[in-house]
């Protein structure tokens, strides 16, 4: 082990940090926008309109049956074609993750909405609220609250999935490490360090989620 030099990693910290920022931005923006689109899809899926429900069903199942890496490749190809001008790998990756995660969030949120007792809905309706008001003020807040731990766990999975973006040439945390590792011939050191960093972040995040879950169950 003595011939491995972990000191070189220290010198590259600014590069690695810039990569980690991309990873974190993708995770936070992807999860936030993914949840918004997910709510929309869940509402469509549960709506009384057959076509809307079908569109949401097809969307969710399509995205859930193909690998994240293929989704990234798809959007890297499609986004510039559709808007007819080149966009960077970052925008493509962000759009890909938002669309991809929305499918997973839609299923989580749908389960949340369905777990709110029907009696509450009926009670809310009988107070004179309209259907959409019941959804917006009574059902959705409870559903999202209940599903917060599950959605956060999904965000941790997204955090890990963002490591795939190097396949479309985006320099996230893993991508930067790969580049410097190959350039300096220090593959062992860099991959070990980023594995440990990912491990620490994910373990800490899932501990926090677990604590939150306990508090939700207790309260």
């Amino acid at each position: 082990m003595s011939h491995f030099q972990f000191g070189v990693v220290l010198k590259s910290l600014p590069f690695l940090w810039s990569g980690l920022q991309i990873t974190l931005t993708l995770t936070v923006a992807g999860a936030a926008a993914g949840i918004l689109l997910g709510v929309l899809l869940a509402l469509m899926r549960l709506s009384k309109s057959r076509p809307l429900s079908w569109i949401a069903f097809i969307y969710v199942n399509l995205f859930r049956s193909i690998p994240a890496i293929l989704v990234l490749l798809w959007f890297y190809l499609l986004v510039p074609l559709i808007i007819d001008r080149p966009v960077g790998a970052f925008s493509s990756a962000l759009i890909a993750f938002v669309m991809f995660e929305a499918a997973y969030y839609a299923e989580i949120i749908r389960a949340g909405i369905q777990s709110v007792p029907v009696l509450q809905r009926e009670a809310a309706l009988s107070t004179g609220l309209r259907n959409w008001q019941v959804m917006l003020h009574v059902v959705l807040p409870q559903a999202l609250n209940m599903m917060t731990p599950v959605m956060l766990n999904q965000a941790i999975l997204l955090f890990m999935d963002t490591a795939l973006v190097s396949v479309i040439g985006l320099h996230d945390f893993t991508g930067t490490a790969s580049i410097i590792a190959t350039r300096d011939g220090k593959v062992v050191e860099f991959y070990t360090v980023i594995a440990v960093v990912y491990l620490c972040i994910c373990l800490t995040a899932s501990q926090i989620v677990r604590r939150l879950q306990k508090r939700l169950q207790a309260g």
Binding site: A68, L70, L73, D161, L164, A181, V188, A195, L203
Partner: protein
């Protein structure tokens, strides 16, 4: 989209059709091998996680904690780039140079072990859900602890887990695509290669997408058949 030059016939032409077919075969072979690793190690660690020995339980918790919390692609890189360097020199050169289909087997190990941690966690929950009265009853009939696992606890846990195992297999199937990053020419890699050779990316990715959709549908249908036969009567 106006500038895109459509040509679906490209998918039927040589050599592209052949690429897609070998890619599909490789994806299926890879997923099955990964699944074997995931199932065997997942079962082992899952059983250890329910052991009465606190040291063994700690080993299982450690294993699951590490493998579940590092992105699979990083684990793949660690197995592919780091592990051969840490082994004795001759082993390292064997893996890097002499082993045929090296990236394939590396993916089997790396991604299979990642999935094994997920399966171990599910199996732990499944084993814990077997009523303790049932375990005690089987011990009272003279079965040893290992035999209670073999004849009572594992069969019940696996049956309860059938839907979970199906979805884990689908995760495994999709995850095989990550192997393209170290050069395994599975279906996603092949469609990407067709894209870069011909600029007919939409057609090529559509082919890969349809393959994933069809295979997933077949698996879901098969597993619901198995579930009907193997389900515990309620």
């Amino acid at each position: 989209m106006s500038k895109y030059n459509w040509d679906w016939s490209i998918l039927g032409e040589a050599p592209y059709l052949g690429w897609l077919v070998t890619g599909a075969e490789l994806t299926i072979a890879l997923s099955l091998c990964m699944w074997a690793v995931a199932f065997i190690f997942g079962s082992l660690i899952g059983v250890i996680a329910t052991s009465r020995n606190p040291l063994l339980r700690a080993v299982a918790t450690f294993y699951i904690g590490i493998l579940r919390n590092i992105p699979p692609i990083v684990q793949l890189f660690v197995w592919f780039f780091v592990v051969p360097e840490l082994l004795p020199f001759s082993w390292g050169t064997f893996i890097k140079r002499d082993l045929s289909y090296g990236p394939f087997w590396t993916s089997v190990v790396a991604l299979g072990l990642f999935l094994s941690a997920r399966i171990a966690e599910h199996l732990r929950a499944g084993l814990d859900s077997v009523p303790s009265s049932l375990v005690n009853a089987s011990l009272a009939t003279g079965l040893r602890v290992a035999q209670t696992y073999r004849y009572v606890r594992l069969p019940i846990a696996y049956r309860k887990m059938l839907p979970t195992l199906t979805s884990e297999f689908l995760v495994c199937f999709k995850m095989s695509a990550i192997s393209m990053t170290i050069g395994v020419a599975e279906i996603s890699a092949q469609s990407y290669q067709i894209e870069s050779y011909t600029y007919h990316g939409i057609e090529a990715f559509t082919a890969a997408t349809i393959f994933y959709l069809c295979f997933s549908t077949v698996i879901v249908a098969l597993s619901s058949l198995i579930e009907k036969r193997g389900a515990l009567s309620k």
